[in-house]
């Protein structure tokens, strides 16, 4: 039975720098040799990546998603607001989702100001997802990881106060004191843009999102674990008087579409493997700085063998994670299935992955928009009809 609202397709870009440093078993974060960055290559990549996002807007995607990481070949976006600012002016209709700046790593009032600017500049197209930030970010920003969670929550309180209470107001917290909290401008959307919390399955984060009535999204964790998190989220949200709908949960998938399944695998597989083996890879020293994880959470991680430290296999990626390569029919079938399975009507697609060249990304983004999205809509509306009968 389906209770899904009309599906929304969001295209997300990580903006990687594919010329990674060789011989780094610890991955491509934190202590990378940054002299490897070539600004001429960087300039070319920014143009291509922004073109891909703008193309997605023209092709009818419902949203564009950008995120933020620091000191890593994984991402050329140490500030997602800079890219979102460009998109606000270069695009016409898609939502712009900042997925986003870890609020603990910046001044909360400043993020409230920047996001308000983006919402006004885009005419009310901003959506905000708030991550704690990976453990790696806390090595390269001057913020104590052992207070990251407390600082995150205080930051969220300040941002919400800034957006919802008439200014000026005062704020007196553990980390920040404001004599005049008074952001100007304020968001275009009232009371404020849609808010999501990005988690990795930690129970307290799920509960936080559910209690506050924010949406929830979970990144790079096995599907089964996500489904369990979503169930907990919905139960807790309901218990707290909120009415979670299918838009409250965002899921994500990697997809590559081609004329035949063989061609899709031939063209897409290597880039997805590159992403997992090179860009996403870290080790526990870098991804778990002291205090970043609750101690018992580290125990669970060590006992289960987190994805980054075990050997990546193609079979694992395609069975445990939402990864699909194939014809439009095959891809559409999987996407519809995953949305139904998670009871989510909002799906983020990773259509440029790893070291994928521009032409392939353009092909993939175009084929997905023109051949897959209509098929998924048909499949889910059929399911709706069946459910109604």
């Amino acid at each position: 039975m389906s209770t899904l609202q009309p599906l929304q397709f969001y295209f997300m870009h990580f903006m990687p720098y594919p010329d990674v440093a060789p011989g780094r078993p610890q991955g491509q974060w934190v202590d990378i040799p940054n002299r490897r960055f070539d600004p001429k290559i960087g300039h070319k990549l920014y143009k291509e990546y922004i073109d891909e996002l703008v193309l997605a807007d023209r092709l009818g995607y419902d949203g564009l998603v950008v995120n933020e990481h620091h000191a890593t070949f994984y991402s050329l976006m140490p500030s997602c607001s800079v890219i979102a600012g460009a998109l606000a002016l270069l695009t016409e209709r898609a939502k712009i989702c900042v997925f986003g700046t870890p609020i603990a790593l910046t001044y909360p009032h400043r993020l409230a100001e920047e996001y308000a600017m983006l919402d006004v500049m885009s005419g009310g197209r901003l959506e905000c997802a708030f991550p704690l930030g990976t453990g790696m970010e806390y090595w390269v920003n001057p913020i104590n990881p052992s207070f990251a969670r407390e600082r995150f929550r205080e930051g969220m309180d300040i941002l919400m106060q800034a957006w919802t209470q008439p200014g000026p107001s005062r704020y007196d917290g553990e980390f920040y004191q404001y004599k005049y909290l008074n952001p100007f401008p304020l968001p275009y959307q009232k009371p404020h843009p849609k808010i999501y919390i990005v988690g990795s399955g930690t129970e307290e984060t799920i509960n936080y999102a559910a209690e506050k009535g924010y949406g929830y999204s979970q990144v790079f964790t096995p599907i089964a674990a996500q489904l369990k998190s979503f169930e907990n989220y919905r139960a807790t949200a309901t218990k707290n008087g909120h009415v979670p709908d299918s838009e409250s949960i965002i899921i994500s998938a990697m997809a590559f579409v081609a004329e035949t399944e063989e061609k899709a695998i031939e063209e897409g597989k290597e880039h997805i493997l590159f992403y997992f083996k090179n860009l996403l890879k870290t080790d526990s020293h870098l991804n778990s700085p002291p205090g970043y994880l609750p101690v018992e959470r580290l125990r669970k991680r060590l006992e289960s063998g987190a994805v980054q430290e075990t050997e990546v296999t193609w079979e694992g990626l395609t069975s445990v994670y939402r990864t699909v390569l194939g014809t439009p029919d095959q891809v559409a079938e999987r996407i519809a299935f995953w949305c139904e399975q998670a009871q989510s009507s909002k799906i983020i697609l990773h259509l440029h992955v790893g070291d994928m060249p521009h032409w392939k990304a353009v092909k993939n983004i175009t084929l997905f928009a023109e051949e897959v999205i209509p098929r998924v809509r048909k499949l889910t509306s059929l399911a709706l009809q069946v459910a109604a009968e």
Partner: protein
């Protein structure tokens, strides 16, 4: 040789483990940033004294205390614990590394509670030309080579990274450490405060300390006018583990009954 007995003591609602050995006048040892290597090396001190080794909140078998996030919080904790243990007359206090920072700040604030002070390669000072190593950036597998110097001692270091329990235990202690010194592994004000110490103070240091360089010893000595320094050739940061002579030196210092209190200059 005496042996340690363990007991739990409740301080402000937090259960801490206290190791004790021997009898006689009390002698308190404040440990460093890790408890996994144990305290066997200082047991000889218990032949003539009541040796007390309290485990800091957030370390070893002691509970976490969510309210502790500064060195001052630890000092306040020890004031309460010493009351609990009825240590009413001035005690001899030893601190190793992190515990040395703690013991020195304790003495600054509780001058009359301390009779003699011994600091083994203490942390806490900012010495720009010879900085203390950043424990957080040292990978687990590199730690042994940082904390001892000789190949013999290195071979005797137990690995702390073999089981999930060990790794979780180490992560918990590093978390407790991060709560008080992620940003800075020193307190810039300590330079000013140490000048208030007026009790006889022994500063012990290994010449091959890779965590807190031996060069910091003379800075401590210049700040505490009532101090003397002894160094141990070739020893690393786990001083008592690597240099039994340092334990003997400590015994002699503690047995010394020359007039105790000098005026701070």
């Amino acid at each position: 040789m005496p042996v340690f007995t363990k007991r739990a003591v409740l301080v402000d609602g937090i259960r801490v483990e206290v190791l004790e050995a021997g009898s006689g006048e009390p002698l308190v040892y404040l440990h460093g940033a890790g408890t996994t290597s144990g305290f066997q090396d200082i047991l000889p001190l218990a032949r003539s004294r009541r040796l007390i080794v309290p485990i800091h909140p957030g370390f070893g078998a002691s509970d976490d205390d969510a309210g502790i996030n500064s060195m001052l919080d630890y000092v306040v904790h020890y004031n309460a614990l010493f009351d609990q243990l009825d240590l009413s007359s001035p005690i001899d206090l030893i601190g190793h590394s992190l515990g040395g920072w703690m013991a020195s700040l304790f003495t600054v604030l509780n001058d009359r509670r301390v009779r003699r002070l011994a600091l083994a390669c203490p942390a806490g000072l900012r010495v720009t030309e010879h900085p203390t190593a950043d424990m957080f950036t040292i990978r687990a597998e590199q730690v042994p080579a940082y904390i001892v110097s000789s190949p013999d001692a290195l071979a005797r270091i137990p690995s702390t990274d073999l089981t999930v329990d060990m790794r979780v235990g180490r992560y918990r202690e590093l978390t407790s450490l991060a709560r008080i010194m992620w940003d800075r592994n020193y307190d810039p004000k300590l330079t000013r405060w140490l000048k208030k110490i007026g009790v006889p103070t022994l500063i012990l240091w290994g010449t091959k300390d890779r965590i807190i360089p031996i060069e910091q010893a003379k800075v401590w000595a210049s700040l505490i006018s009532t101090s003397e320094v002894d160094t141990f050739e070739g020893a690393g940061h786990l001083l008592f583990f690597e240099a039994p002579a340092a334990v003997s030196r400590l015994e002699a210092f503690l047995a010394d009954d020359r007039p105790l209190r000098k005026a701070a200059s």
